[in-house]
Symmetry: C2
Subunit: 148 residues, 2 copies
DNA sequence: ACTATATAGAACCAATGCAGTCCTATTTAG
DNA sequence: CTAAATAGGACTGCATTGGTTCTATATAGT
């Protein structure tokens, strides 16, 4: 398992579609029709992505959504984060010790490192990359430099 | 989000505990008591881990569980896989196209690569590593060689 | 042989979270 | 002024998960 939510999956597909024509403005109905996903669901996702500042919107007739940044400046991590919130594999990985195991739980610090590795992996892939038919192998090297 | 299940978290804590004394045999009650997790829950997890061949068991009086392999030979990916099943971030990542987007979904192949990167990251960390107080930074380099 | 202590495996229940819908503003081009 | 859009909620049915319980089986010690 360890799967992302289905809605998050849709969101990435949406974003990749937008990334193929970065300037253009798409209405929710248009995207829903094109991707074969129900219109209300698409609309909801677009709102979420907007609030995360990944999209720009235009209201009224002829309005719609477009990318807020260049495709290469938006990562998969951004999209996942916008829909699912901050990445936290384990309960304790997001601070606030509501972990019943607290004392003697030596695995915590290690989970945070794994967490970080995952995040770096998702950040390494941009929408521009995803829009390409076949991505280059992901290079999560040099993790040390990115570590605090 | 993108979190592992709470039970999976428990499972790793259990396995790390066993990894600290690889030879020793622990009963479910013993582990439950030591970790502060309800006994039935611990028992269930141990059964799952057993079926995945990560543990060996001994029935009867004085019985219990112990690691089936050396701590360095069991990875976090093994433990996660034993509890949550095979890793598949997206619906389409696990074959069988029950993905409504099918046609024109160029993101699929790319998700599979991300998937793979994650798996490699989890496989790179063993129970022996987790048992250490502070893990070395994860090196998911040379991903190409591991790719088919 | 009998009993206490374990695991083996399955069935079961409650609750949380998620996918999806709907409704009511608000904005804007024509 | 109207039609076409987004903005932002609230709401609901369902699936998954966390957790329990029950029965069967194996084994060490007496």
């Amino acid at each position: 398992m360890l799967r992302i939510a289905k809605l998050t999956d849709y969101a990435t597909v949406l974003m990749v579609r937008l990334a193929r024509e970065p300037g253009r403005c798409f209405s929710a109905a248009q995207l829903a029709d094109e991707l074969g996903v129900p219109q209300p669901t698409v609309a909801k996702l677009l709102k979420h992505l907007l609030r995360a500042h990944l999209l720009a919107s235009a209201r009224g007739v002829g309005g719609g959504y477009s990318l807020a940044m260049a495709p290469h400046a938006i990562s998969v991590a951004d999209v996942v984060g916008a829909i699912e919130g901050p990445l936290a594999l384990t309960e304790c990985a997001r601070g606030k010790g509501n972990c019943s195991l607290e004392r003697g739980c030596a695995t915590r610090a290690n989970w945070q490192l794994i967490n970080r590795a995952l995040q770096v992996a998702l950040q390494a892939v941009s929408l521009a990359d995803m829009a390409r038919p076949q991505l280059q192998p992901i290079h999560v090297q040099a993790l040390q430099e990115k570590m605090p």
